[in-house]
Symmetry: C2
Subunit: 221 residues, 2 copies
């Protein structure tokens, strides 16, 4: 059985390396020491989820892994992807809190301000974010040269992201949401925030923050 | 000057009693010991805000008081009303985070689940909540016999609210939002949560939680 406050986290990129598997869980544990995270990943998605096709093929695996983590005793589950794949379906099947990194980040941004920009690795914002942000979404930018989460780890990718962030800030954004959890892996949010001087919401940490609330404040014994 | 993490809180009910003035600030300070809250109230609204007319007349005062709290050095401002009156306007004028209790509560609920019920003291949900919750809003209930925030302090009012909460839960709600900060004053959320076994979001504490994030995680020095 999991300890009382263990959270399951589903990575939507396939890996056999423990450091990669645990990367998001470690970020959350370091930021919120009260939380313990048990990570699992989906099979057959070595480049993650970046379009409708890869998302559809991932959902069945996410549902299966989510049920497994719940059976192990996890008290909440994070789907660590900005598109919230499988979140709706897992909520239908399980009674524990199911937290999507995309919805958590968008909700957090919308609670802070009403002029929000999204940085996405595809040409539009994830539908779950568009739905939550409504008319507070002032614009979406796709940094040049980035197409999957694996493209984010270079100096050029960070520079392209900073250019996109500055464009959104100049267009009037008062907060930004990073619509790919690969940005969490490279810890881009604080670096961007220091340079553009508006809050930049990290999707994995937003999911951790929301889980913290789910576990501590509204835990149903 | 305020200390580094002081938050201003605007009460939308007129009072000269310090215990009433500080009621919401004290709730936040007790729940989140890292926060200090400086409260102020609007004049000429002895029964609070409960319709479009009382809201319109309050907004100018909220804007004036918000600017005053910012000038005193507060690093964020909470408008402690489920309708978010003046939040949009204050965000236009000030660069510090402006947190509305209504939007904070709705965003928090939507980050936790996608079937949300609202308990309101008027016949509909506050527009700011309707907008944020979208199609995750499964229903709104107005407890019998309650018309203003001052009606909440009786045993009968709590019973009527519990009846409404049970109806929403039976209709499929997986979380409830209390759409009046008077419910925070009487600390109804944990009492309801214990009885209906789904998360019940308190608007004042949701605003405190969101302020905690604004101050700690995305503070722009």
């Amino acid at each position: 059985m999991a300890s009382r406050i263990e959270i399951g986290l589903i990575r939507v990129i396939s890996t056999q390396e423990p450091a990669v598997l645990d990367a998001h869980g470690t970020l959350i544990e370091n930021k919120y020491p009260g939380l313990r995270v048990r990570s699992a990943c989906i099979p057959d998605h070595p480049t993650g989820i970046y379009d409708q096709c890869t998302e559809q093929s991932a959902i069945a695996a996410i549902i299966r892994i989510g049920n497994h983590l719940a059976a192990l005793g996890c008290h909440a589950i994070i789907v660590s992807c900005a598109n919230d794949p499988g979140v709706f379906e897992l909520r239908q099947q399980l009674t524990i809190p199911i937290i999507g990194a995309g919805s958590a980040a968008a909700c957090l941004a919308r609670s802070l301000t009403d002029r929000i920009g999204v940085i996405s690795i595809v040409s539009s914002s994830p539908p779950v974010m568009t739905s939550i942000l409504g008319n507070t979404l002032i614009g979406t930018k796709k940094p040049a040269g980035i197409n999957t989460t694996l493209d984010l780890a270079s100096h050029e990718a960070f520079h392209a992201t900073l250019v996109a962030a500055r464009q959104l800030s100049k267009a009037g954004a008062r907060a930004l949401v990073l619509a790919c959890t690969g940005y969490s892996t490279i810890q881009a949010a604080p670096l961007l925030q220091k340079r553009i001087h508006i809050p930049v919401i990290d999707p994995v940490l937003a999911a951790g923050w929301t889980s913290l609330h789910a576990i501590r404040e509204t835990h149903i014994a």
